[in-house]
């Protein structure tokens, strides 16, 4: 399909581009697929038309936004990919699995197409207040944490921590719907607008002063793409770090790890007691895109018995896990090499026994990589909240 380039080039203000190559240079997937965002921008500037359907690599982009962060001219290269995906969405030429995810969100409010009435099943018997009754902090759980059995432990740990800290919080229960962060990045602008409208009304109706999310992805769109009338949007790492700082959340003992892999030759203890060596992977939507680097580390450092070690590529240089921008629902053009594989090796090289994450997508992609790469005897992937829960949870 031939797209007239000029209107989109103008709309996205691509004309500021100086073709320096920092975008493609920093692009984590450009190293494994033919995706070249610098070249796509150039084509948009100099060619009258572009055959968008000839670029299946557009679905390789994880929307990690490294290109946006690095661009010296404030061009937003990733927005071109979103715009071009939008063209494909409109013409219906999209990967089937992307279509299914969008349809699931449209029908059931979540990309897996799971039943809406099961959305609050993750609580597993724990009493959680309905936010609609009024609360200071609205906890937005998110789709993956609500439905994915591996990730459900994270919201459960969070509500325990909130309760332990005496926080007045509630959730939207089965009324909660997808935040739309990935919807916008998959190019479905119309559905995104609809979600923004519905969610904004629902969230404003609660009257909470703060909104806290499990996922950096939900956090990103609420913070930067919604206008929530002065409601402070937080990622959970910010809130938990604050509760620790204020002394409201206290740790009683080192995390009770059921299994301690950590062989002694890697500096670990071979199981049992001793320092737990943890490395932390910065999620793109929390770190690069929203510059929240310190709070997750502050939490880990506050947990008794935890020793935080850093990977060489950390903070601004963290390597994308490839879970964002719709990549949870499509493989992209290179099925062999995964950045998550590379990342878990980097984590293992630090001697850490725990690779801590703060994002549901990172949790799933990196845990999968650890298994596939045969590192599961020495490295466990855990959400920060799992460690937190194990260090505060005395009673249960």
């Amino acid at each position: 399909m031939a797209l007239k380039t000029e209107p989109m080039a103008e709309e996205l203000e691509l004309f500021g581009c100086i073709q320096c190559g920092k975008c493609t240079g920093g692009c984590p997937v450009a190293r494994k697929t033919v995706l070249n965002i610098r070249s796509l921008i150039y084509q948009m500037l100099v060619e009258p038309e572009m055959d968008v359907s000839a670029h299946p690599e557009l679905w390789d982009c994880t929307s990690c936004f490294t290109c946006v962060e690095r661009c010296p001219k404030d061009v937003r290269p990733a927005e071109l990919i979103i715009g071009l995906r939008g063209q494909l969405v409109e013409s219906g030429r999209i990967p089937e699995t992307i279509g299914a995810a969008l349809m699931g969100i449209f029908r059931q409010g979540n990309p897996s197409g799971m039943a809406r009435e099961d959305r609050a099943a993750w609580v597993n018997g724990t009493a959680v207040k309905a936010a609609q009754k009024g609360c200071e902090t609205l906890y937005f759980v998110g789709c993956i944490p609500s439905y994915d059995p591996r990730v459900q432990v994270v919201p459960r740990a969070l509500v325990k921590a909130f309760a332990a800290a005496g926080l007045d919080f509630g959730t939207l229960g089965t009324e909660e719907s997808c935040c739309g962060n990935e919807v916008r990045r998959m190019g479905e602008a119309g559905l995104f607008e609809m979600l923004v409208e519905e969610n904004s009304e629902l969230i404003r109706g609660v009257g909470a002063s703060r909104l806290v999310t499990t996922s950096p992805h939900c956090f990103n769109t609420f913070k930067n793409e919604y206008s929530l009338d002065g409601i402070e949007v937080l990622h959970y790492t910010q809130l938990i770090a604050e509760l620790i700082e204020q002394g409201r959340l206290k740790f009683s003992h080192p995390p009770n790890l059921p299994e301690r892999p950590s062989p002694p030759e890697l500096g670990g203890t071979g199981g049992g007691r001793g320092k737990i060596i943890v490395t932390y992977h910065d999620p793109c939507f929390l770190g690069k895109q929203n510059h929240i680097f310190d709070e997750p580390r502050a939490i880990l450092k506050a947990i008794p018995g935890v020793k935080l070690v850093e990977m060489d590529r950390n903070r601004e240089r963290s390597l994308c896990c490839e879970g964002g921008g719709g990549r949870m629902w499509t493989e992209g053009t290179n099925l062999e090499e995964r950045l998550a594989f590379q990342r878990v090796h980097e984590a293992a090289e630090t001697g850490a026994e725990i690779l801590a994450v703060a994002c549901p997508f990172c949790l799933l992609t990196l845990e999968d990589a650890v298994k596939v790469q045969g590192l599961d005897d020495r490295l466990q992937v855990m959400d920060i909240m799992e460690l937190v829960e194990m260090a505060i949870d005395d009673d249960e």
């Binding site: 100086i18 190559g21 920092k22 240079g25 070249s39 490294t66 690095r70 010296p72 001219k73 240089r317």
Partner: protein, 596 residues
């Protein structure tokens, strides 16, 4: 009895600046019917020679005794039209301007409305013109001498020119030595001359010049006065602009010939202040080097083999590229670090990095002939004399230029990996190097804001000091008598710095050589019969111009100190103060014309 006013009105088109929005013919026609108007014309450019000739000719031929020019802001061309009026043979203060450009055509799109507004503005100016009174141009003497702030190349060159012209110069340098940033360099491009050969004779001349007094470890603490007569307080031992040496009761001292001294002699570090009276001030405070910690993706401070170009200068001066994790076989230079980069807020090009990188690359090729030297660039800018030729030689000596700026650096064994796209190959690359040199750019000095407050100097959007006009007045500032030299105005290389320093010196010499400077003619005057001697004018005047006469108990205004701001005239409860050229009668006539 005064002769009746005979007013000429001149409506300027300003090309299409005014004429596109205002119907100038209609305004001229309207003006011709206003009281006392003898002639009303419109013309393409009133500020042009033929435009001004219209005024002088009409004064002579039609016996005009008042002139109204409706054009741009008086800030722009009041001196021009006062000149034309004087040329015609009448007092220049008989000219009144109506601003129908900045205050009318430029801010409106509705032609009809803009034309009506222009008519009102002209009518108002004509009403005032009828009441204008003659004033005399006045001048005051100048204190011969200049203060130069900053002892780098710019400051030293400017100081020497002023000193060579025969005037005393006070060079105020914050550090304990002269030479500035250039002193940190090894060789200069494109000649590869040793910096020491360049700098030492210059410092020597400054230190031995009978007209130059050098203050080391010193800051300007206070500046008062105006062009021709500045009072500058310098604190030796002071650590920042505008902050003296503390309230420790240290008084002023008689000025010695030399305060502090570079080159090994014992500096006088005892805190002390000096009061300097000068006619001009030259600001030559230089720049800060960009701190690459602000580009964390480049790993500076994290990897020992990622260094800045200034660290590389020291390495090259010592001829030593050892001590890195691996023997240096591959050296990569990265251009535009902290320049041309919206992410760090520096949109400008630092103008020297392309050339100093070419210089360092060549020197590395000579020092380590076996090493591969690669420069990652976005654009190569070689605009100076001999610069492109130098770049040609660098490539001839097998310095490899790859187009594509490095996005990220990480570690692999003892080497570092540069992650980039070679944009000419059109593919991402991972380039291994043993040593990476970041071509860090220039930034406004961190103390620019403090000096800006002290001298009331505005800064441009890039944060550097702002010149008066980017093309025609590049070393002047909006503060008369204060001039800019070198990188405090924006990044530049040594030849440009020296050229600008000499330009600043030459401009700073104008009031010194002339010996007088014009002062405001439109000052406030007291009518003693009306003055009750309450002293409110004394309280409100920011310039200390009014004082109560001890004998008569009435206010007297010192016309030399008066800047014509009018604050006293407004404050005076007896209406005894008359603000010349803006009298109550004149202003009320203007208002009447606008609302009447």
């Amino acid at each position: 009895m005064e002769p009746q006013p005979r007013i000429g009105v001149y409506i300027c088109h300003c090309g299409t600046n005014i004429a596109a929005t205002v119907d100038v013919e209609q305004v001229a026609e309207f003006a011709s019917h206003l009281p006392h108007v003898v002639v009303a014309r419109h013309y393409m450019y009133m500020c042009s020679d033929p435009g001004q000739a219209l005024i002088t000719q009409d004064i002579k031929e039609q016996g005009l005794n008042r002139v109204v020019v409706a054009s741009c802001s008086p800030t722009m061309h009041e001196p021009t039209f006062r000149g034309a009026t004087r040329e015609g043979g009448i007092n220049p203060y008989f000219m009144q301007m109506a601003n129908i450009r900045e205050q009318c055509s430029w801010v409106h799109t509705d032609r009809e409305g803009a034309t009506e507004k222009a008519k009102s503005l002209v009518a108002s100016a004509v009403a005032k013109a009828a009441l204008l009174e003659p004033l005399e141009d006045r001048e005051v003497g100048v204190t011969l001498g200049a203060v130069v702030i900053g002892g780098g190349v710019a400051g030293m060159v400017a100081a020497l020119d002023v000193a060579d012209a025969g005037f005393p110069v006070y060079l105020v340098e914050k550090s304990d030595h002269l030479g500035g940033r250039v002193a940190d360099l090894n060789r200069v491009f494109p000649t590869l001359e040793l910096v020491a050969d360049l700098l030492e004779p210059l410092i020597e001349r400054v230190q031995t010049h009978p007209n130059v007094t050098v203050f080391l470890n010193a800051h300007v603490v206070e500046v008062e006065g105006y062009v021709g007569n500045f009072e500058v307080t310098v604190g030796v031992g002071s650590r920042e602009y505008g902050v003296g040496n503390g309230e420790d009761g240290l008084g002023q001292r008689p000025l010695p010939n030399r305060v502090g001294n570079g080159g090994g002699e014992t500096s006088n570090l005892e805190p002390e202040t000096h009061q300097l009276s000068v006619g001009s001030i030259i600001v030559a405070t230089g720049y800060d080097v960009f701190d690459p910690h602000r580009k964390p993706e480049l790993g500076y401070g994290q990897y020992p083999n990622v260094i800045t170009s200034l660290e590389m200068e020291r390495r090259l001066a010592a001829g030593d590229l050892t001590g890195f994790p691996k023997p240096v076989r591959s050296v990569a230079f990265i251009q535009c670090v902290g320049s041309r980069d919206a992410q760090v807020g520096n949109l400008y090009c630092s103008r020297v990095c392309c050339m100093y990188t070419a210089k360092q690359a060549r020197l590395v090729r000579e020092l380590l002939p076996e090493a591969r030297v690669t420069v990652f660039f976005i654009d190569v800018r070689t605009f100076g004399k001999g610069a492109e030729e130098f770049y040609d030689e660098a490539r001839a000596k097998e310095v490899r230029y790859r187009r594509g700026n490095v996005s990220e650096i990480y570690r692999r064994d003892g080497r570092v990996v540069l992650v980039a796209e070679d944009t000419l190959l059109g593919r991402p690359i991972e380039f291994e190097a043993d040593l990476v040199v970041l071509a860090v750019g220039m930034e406004p000095r961190s103390d620019t804001a403090a000096l800006s407050r002290l001298l009331k100097l505005p800064r441009s959007a890039d944060g550097f000091f702002m010149e008066c006009h980017p093309k025609l007045r590049p070393v002047d500032t909006v503060v008369d008598g204060v001039f800019l030299a070198g990188c405090c105005q924006g990044p530049k290389d040594i030849p440009d710095t020296v050229a600008q320093a000499k330009a600043a010196a030459s401009s700073a010499l104008i009031p010194l050589i002339r010996g007088t400077v014009p002062v405001e003619s439109a000052t406030a005057v007291v009518e003693p019969e009306l003055c009750a001697g309450c002293g409110m004018c004394v309280d409100v005047c920011p310039y200390g111009a009014p004082a109560l006469d001890p004998l008569w108990g009435v206010s007297r205004i010192n016309a030399v100190l008066c800047k014509g701001c009018g604050a006293c005239a407004v404050a005076c409860p007896s209406k005894a103060i008359r603000m010349q050229h803006f009298t109550a009668e004149q202003i009320l006539a203007q208002v009447d014309a606008l609302v009447g």
